[in-house]
Symmetry: none
DNA sequence: TTTTTAGGTGTACAGATGTTCATATAAGTG
DNA sequence: CACTTATATGAACATCTGTACACCTAAAAA
């Protein structure tokens, strides 16, 4: 049933793709109607509904303008296959509710073997404070955003508004943060310390020479 | 003047590209503002105007929704080709004319930003001999196969049937191979030494925790 | 210091846009 | 013929969206 599109429905799909390709953004319903020389948007609108039901087209929430996603085009992303885009964050900032977009400095495609389906970002390391963990200034850490850490995990923690890399150990009533550098003393924090917050755990490292 | 974008302006461009890639259609001004945690659309709107003046962004006629065209995107970077497959080699073996396929232990997709169009493979590091270069056992080195090295390049060389990582320096009549570890002595070889062969240069490092 | 620049907030408004409804036409079907 | 399906029209409506204006803040420049 899915692929049983009428000629007109196929033409509409093609028109959306073509418009998007030529203009860089998808058309509106009225622009589509105009392309077909129709004076009303309602006809196209109905066709679009059918296309959605048949699974040939996806749209954003109702009411969103130009929010077309031709499923065909999605298969293009499938070509990049195992690759997933991950944002590069220059700096972990204090008040991150989700992830401060202001600090985004780019993106990189990573193998999904590495990043899985999790919520991943790349953190640019500043300074040489982690040199004992064989982590250098300028390296990128692959960070999975999570609150659930297991003992021994390397985590990114926000301590006094500053992001640091530590090993995580949960003790009876507190948390021990063990620096990678054995000559440095561990830090102890209370689980509910407002100055302490776990951003995520480190899953990998990328370096460029 | 064109490329003189403030950090924020670059971030806005990145955000548009990312939104478009993830959703299939460009964002609205307000959606952008929301991404940045801003409560008003006017600030973003102003930035968008600047981006247009600087030529980094094109838009449809005034009033058209979501009509963004990031100039970068137009430069035909085939999104589906942003990822490239690179073989993982467990071991550099002696008689490699090309690359011993038998030693292949897998493959990984890497961002073409990183690997370019060159002939790239990934070499699994064995042992702790390079720990002073902040390279660990189990790390993957991104290696570009080439014979042309410049002074200071980190290279993979085959010495006495064994692969090592060294810094490359060409001297008058010989080549100096400087270990990453400063406490180790450099090795000198003749350019035509049959026991010596350059496999390629190290362009990056991948580590998994 | 004053001035400029880059950005941000809040409000407001006009036009763009998706959506719905009632209605119509033509083609195919039983 | 009546009945369904696919499509088109025109009007009406609720939001969405881009844009403008006034005003504010912080940092950099003069």
């Amino acid at each position: 049933m899915k692929n049983d599109l009428t000629p007109k429905q196929q033409q509409v799909l093609q028109a959306i793709k073509r418009f998007h390709r030529e203009n860089g953004y998808p058309p509106t319903v009225r622009e589509l109607a105009e392309l077909f020389g129709q004076s009303s948007a309602a006809g196209i609108h109905k066709i679009l509904q059918v296309l959605q039901e048949k699974g040939a087209l996806r749209r954003g929430e109702s009411g969103k303008s130009r929010s077309f996603m031709v499923m065909d085009d999605l298969l293009g992303e499938d070509k990049s296959h195992r690759a997933r885009s991950c944002p590069i964050i220059g700096n972990v900032v204090a008040g991150m509710p989700q992830l401060a977009v202001e600090e985004r400095e780019g993106e990189l495609y990573l193998d999904s073997d590495w990043v899985g389906q999790e919520d991943i970002f790349l953190l640019r390391v500043r300074g040489h404070s982690m040199i004992d963990a064989d982590i250098r200034d300028g390296d990128l850490l692959v960070v999975q955003m999570t609150q659930t850490c297991r003992n021994g995990d390397i985590i990114i923690a926000l301590l006094e508004e500053e992001a640091t890399v530590k090993r995580f150990y949960k003790e009876v009533e507190r948390i021990r943060l063990q620096p990678e550098n054995p000559s440095m003393q561990p830090i102890y924090v209370n689980k509910d310390d407002p100055n302490f917050r776990i951003i995520g755990k480190v899953k990998g490292l990328l370096r460029r020479y």
